[in-house]
Symmetry: C2
Subunit: 854 residues, 2 copies
Amino acid sequence: MLTCTNKYAGADKRGTIYGLYSISEQIGVSPWYFWADSPPQKHTSIYAQPVTVVQKSPSVKYRGIFLNDEAPGLTGYINAKFPDSPWGPGYNAEFYSTVFELLLRLRANYLWPAMWNSMFNVDDPRNQPLADEYGIVMGTSHTEPMMRSTKEWSVFGNGTWSWETNNETIYPFFVEGAERAAPYESVVTMGMRGYHDTPIGPTNDIALLEAIVEAQSEILADIWGAEAASDPDVVPQMWCLYKEVQGYIDAGMEIPEHITLLWADDNFGNIRRLPRGNETERSGGAGVYYHFDYVGDPRSYKWINTAKLQKTWEQMHMAYERNAREIWVVNVGDLKPLELPISHMMDLAYDITLWNKDSVPTWLRHWASREFGASVAAETAALMNNYTKTVGRRKYELTDINTYNIINYEEADRVLATWKGMAETAATIYEGLPDETRAAFFEMVYHPVTAGFVFHDIMISTAKNNLYALQGRNSANALADHVREQFDRDHELTAEYNSMLNGKWEHIMDQTHIGYNYWQQPMRQRLPGLQYVQTKERALTGDMGVTSESSNATVPGDDPYHDNGSNSLTLPVFDTYGASSRWIEIFCVGTQDFDWNITANASFVSFSQSAGSLSPSGQTDIRVYITFDWEQVEEGSGMVLLNVSSSTDYGAQFNMPQLMLPYTHHVVPSGFGGGHVESDRHLSIEAEHWTSTTNSSSAHYEVITGLSRTLSGVTLFPITAPSFTTTNAPGLTYDFYTFSSSTFTNLTNITVVLTPNLNTIPDRPLRYAIQLDDQDIKTVQPIIDQPNGANPTNWGTAVANNAWLGMSNFTYAGAGEHTLKLWALEPGLVFNSIWVDLGGIKPSYLGPPESVVV
Amino acid sequence: MLTCTNKYAGADKRGTIYGLYSISEQIGVSPWYFWADSPPQKHTSIYAQPVTVVQKSPSVKYRGIFLNDEAPGLTGYINAKFPDSPWGPGYNAEFYSTVFELLLRLRANYLWPAMWNSMFNVDDPRNQPLADEYGIVMGTSHTEPMMRSTKEWSVFGNGTWSWETNNETIYPFFVEGAERAAPYESVVTMGMRGYHDTPIGPTNDIALLEAIVEAQSEILADIWGAEAASDPDVVPQMWCLYKEVQGYIDAGMEIPEHITLLWADDNFGNIRRLPRGNETERSGGAGVYYHFDYVGDPRSYKWINTAKLQKTWEQMHMAYERNAREIWVVNVGDLKPLELPISHMMDLAYDITLWNKDSVPTWLRHWASREFGASVAAETAALMNNYTKTVGRRKYELTDINTYNIINYEEADRVLATWKGMAETAATIYEGLPDETRAAFFEMVYHPVTAGFVFHDIMISTAKNNLYALQGRNSANALADHVREQFDRDHELTAEYNSMLNGKWEHIMDQTHIGYNYWQQPMRQRLPGLQYVQTKERALTGDMGVTSESSNATVPGDDPYHDNGSNSLTLPVFDTYGASSRWIEIFCVGTQDFDWNITANASFVSFSQSAGSLSPSGQTDIRVYITFDWEQVEEGSGMVLLNVSSSTDYGAQFNMPQLMLPYTHHVVPSGFGGGHVESDRHLSIEAEHWTSTTNSSSAHYEVITGLSRTLSGVTLFPITAPSFTTTNAPGLTYDFYTFSSSTFTNLTNITVVLTPNLNTIPDRPLRYAIQLDDQDIKTVQPIIDQPNGANPTNWGTAVANNAWLGMSNFTYAGAGEHTLKLWALEPGLVFNSIWVDLGGIKPSYLGPPESVVV
């Protein structure tokens, strides 16, 4: 039994509460014991050391969440599970009490309540007093001024939501909101947008906004006294610079300095602006409105967690260092199933000094230990570290059958294998868990990992189905059936979640996620198109088809008399420093079993299998890997011919397919070392694999593992460093060796992949400098800002891809040793990888696998 | 028993043969007794009248077919069914003897043999002597000069097929061809193209071609004597002006006048050029190379018959009248299943004077009576007249899921109903036939009609599947299953054809036809993409969805808080002179049964059904037609509100759908009569429904029923009429009445639909004049020719659509009476229909249904 004496009392009531809940957590009660069913860890004895623990002030003053876009999941859940309030089912006090407790146990203190179709103060009048009793500071969302919800205007308001034409009605509406909030702790949203989260007008009407803020200030002064209009401690006020609203401040709008400027991300986790210059000295300070869930362009993301923890750290570290420490509020959608990123964000907000750039694995171990017990913490943390990196490549809602390339670099195969491996790991851990831990693990680990695997299997297998149907493969139909099975598996996972624990989480997983074709969620789950071939008839070309990597063709293929050479197919060049093999596939396109045989006209060629049988009723497809015994291959280039024969005849006028495999056997001179080597007319270099680096007294490069789609981010520390020029910037040098002999100029031949960070300082846009060999240094500004608070050019593509691509043209002077230099000219710019295209880069999402380093 | 005496002897051996076969046909033996299994009609007695019948000379001297693009169907069939020749399976004399006899029974005399992968003279040395014995005049295709097949060069030739670099080798190759042909009747192909049906070079090298023809003439003179170079009767020669070759003559190339100019169609049945000026006086005359089957751009058509008989008549009538009477040769692909258009073409070629513009139904009755007996002739002829018109709308190979509109004008529904009705008629006739007639009927009627229905069902049902999946309908899945069943039905029809009569027609129907995605045939049958919805989960919007015509939306639809008004849907305007009803559809998007109810806020509204039940396990969809009692509706415009309720609740935040049906009740003034009346902001007028017409002494308008996609063609007769101006051209006047009050200018508001005829006289391109009310007359030239023998601009779209669209902009002055005038300025231009767009024309393939005439 633990006795709390008042020596644990805090600086305010929350200090005490946090102290209590910290002890509760140390005893073994997760903040998520209710919301994610984390089992209290049982101990035979509990010991408290006789020491006084003093918590310093939290890193961020107001730390909280925004329940938003809360249907179908949360609303459906609440209507089903909180029906018994005297105020009817819905967002009532019974529900909110669970949220308040969760927030406090997470050491948060701030909440924007659900507002899509609800009114926090009206739906249940107990809500606001209860929040205050718990010690939760209430706000309203960025688009709801003066502590009134949007829906209140549609229920109680009269006329148009337009200050210009209807301020006589809106003014008392504001007054009522302020009066209602007066007894409680609140952060008041100032300013005004159009009705329902839209711009107030087509242009930046600064005079109008200033008039609105003046009227609002007048109201606050009437209620809280004149000091409310200058002292942020009397009644905290904030103005959220969301979307187009940011344009007002950039256009010079004067905002009283006691009002906290709440800077926003771009809805995709990239903070758009942070305090600069004298903005850092405002008495109201600054904050950040961030998103783990979003409804809107280019696409909503509302299903399961897609937040990358490394990204959260990188952005919030920047926000903190740039003095946005007054408010951090994050849009968490339905609350569940975003337990992981919410925990992480609130821990950062409470004390960011505990967590450095490499802290995610450590944080995940702490988290996993707390939620599932120490025995599975390490493997669960590793799994979720992999999940957060993998899901960070692209949001589910933006991933479709065209995302990952199914013919080049085995990209889709590798991506799917990663997901499959994670799902298997999750299943293994899950099966070994004690019963009481299973629910929590299912909700926070097993479900997202498994559902993510199923989702990616549906997309990638559908892509293959479509290609295989084009190729006439029998297996197209089996793949279609597989996709439909996985579609049902997706449903089963949803149903299992909704029905677990005797239906505790009914409806919470109702969010549709398959079938997106524009920004809005699909109203019903819908598979992408599946194609079936007529397996009762054989292809015109016979029973056997052959294809190769990097091709969508089948040989024998198109009518040889009208498309010359279509019985032959050329593979990508095979060389010493590239992929360790090339592959072809042999498959059934007919009705009969057949034996196949593959021969090469060179003795140094080996096959993973050189003969076999395929059958429409058995194994229908085989991938054959081709390898060379390079020691037997003379230096230089050549061509190997591969003949693939079938034991059944071909269709009328079609001949035996022949594959041509061009190869080059080059050897890097012994004098070259420590750099990357060309293969297949390209280089792919991870930014962290530099040959050398130079630092300056004011900044140096650091690697943030897991920040990119493929490996890591390389960026300048400290984030508050000044701008640099090419003469004083820290530099990165990459040596590489090429064999391609042709020279060319003015191609977009060097692509630098960057994390999708934005220009947070308007007059210091992110830039880098780049130089190939001793050519002129070029400066690249990948992100071109737009006026009126609009997102930058091509922003939609960048956030979808989770990458900006910086393109540069250099002259390629031919084979030999080369040196590429990069200089980040601003902190905040994060290098991921570099692709040097000598004419051989093929389409893919993640780029070619990294080149060999010798 | 019939005795043939020599008084039946003809002018040459073929005259006698035709006499004999004519009697055979009169006795009851179809030319197709072998090739289409038409049963000889049995008579207890046969009577011959004691009269002398003298056949006049045939209309066209050389009348024949070209076996081409002959795999997989014909080649597969021949390899299977003619394997026993001493020369091996293939295009041997056993096979050709059946073709020769067919030709003679069709009163044809000319053949271009198969050449994709065969050599008529080499594969079986008996072929050529046998042809001569039968009296068949042999040719080689347009691309095979000097009586040698393309493949012969690959087997016997040396070096490149290039006159410029290799004429020393090609010359003797030509000599051998001519010498080999010398003992027999032949028409020698002159000139030269590139290897395998390609252009000889990138530009019109007239000097090169003239040198080639000179050398070829020298060879012919060496063998047949000097007169061969001037007298077409010594050895007939032809030069085929196919594709780019036409550019040579247009560019001024001199071709000796004894060489027959074989003008070609555009591979899609539209003759590109015909003799003009002094070309009509050449001693070698002219001919036409025509297509019923084609491999190439914009798309191959190789499956079942898509030739429209009315079109064949119209084009060949023009050719005949324009003096192209020396050769008619038609590419017939695999021969089968083009029995119908081949018969028709050969009858026209033998005596076109028997068949006028309205002759198709009569010809079809004769044909049906001969093939299937008199008792089913009328209904079979009517069926095939419908088939030839319907299939003439667009070739199968070019028809996909986007062709017919599934939401506007009930277009796809009407098209599919036509096909279904035809298939039912074919089945009814088929079932009533005696056993011996069934095979022929299956091959020539039942199969094309039924396979055509199945094909269109697959495309239209897939289109609906895709839309219904987007709308979240349960029935999307049932449609997908239906499409897969019809895919199997398509296979069964193929298999039935290939296996009938103990496998007589093995492989003949092997041609793939589902899965086209570019010009080339798909190598395997492949369905378009089918989409499945997750019927185990209900839509976010609830169990019931509602949509309306002209919309792809579902209400309740998108999140109402982010896409305002998405619970309501507006139908197209309903008015007095348009469609007799509007429709909506109510359907299951969920998991539960529900009762639905529809109410209107006006008493003059009726529904085909106003309440009912739908069930995921029973009836899932219903179309409800809305009609008005117009007598109860006041004149003017209004809006009816329709509420559709469901007995189960809606999804979180979704409300009951409401449909808005705007209407107008207008009355045409009693003074207006005989013209069309606007509905829904447009008019659609069939060209034959003119209000009045004026003729001139040199030409007048005639209606060719069945020539257009929708009704008929209106064109000037005679086809040899001169050019006209708007002052002397015969005119067509269309009165129409409009209600739309707005006025607008410079819209493309009048579209004239024309058959895809081409400019057959280079300096007299097809043109028409058009005038709205008293505005300036505009002249429209829809077809813009391109140089170097290329097809006209937008030709690919026009032949795919089977229509040229002439667009004009006029000022619309507002409601009231209007007059549209059209003048054809050249013969050969064929008006089909006219669309006047006052802002209301919706996407469709065939255009809006015709407007009402009062």
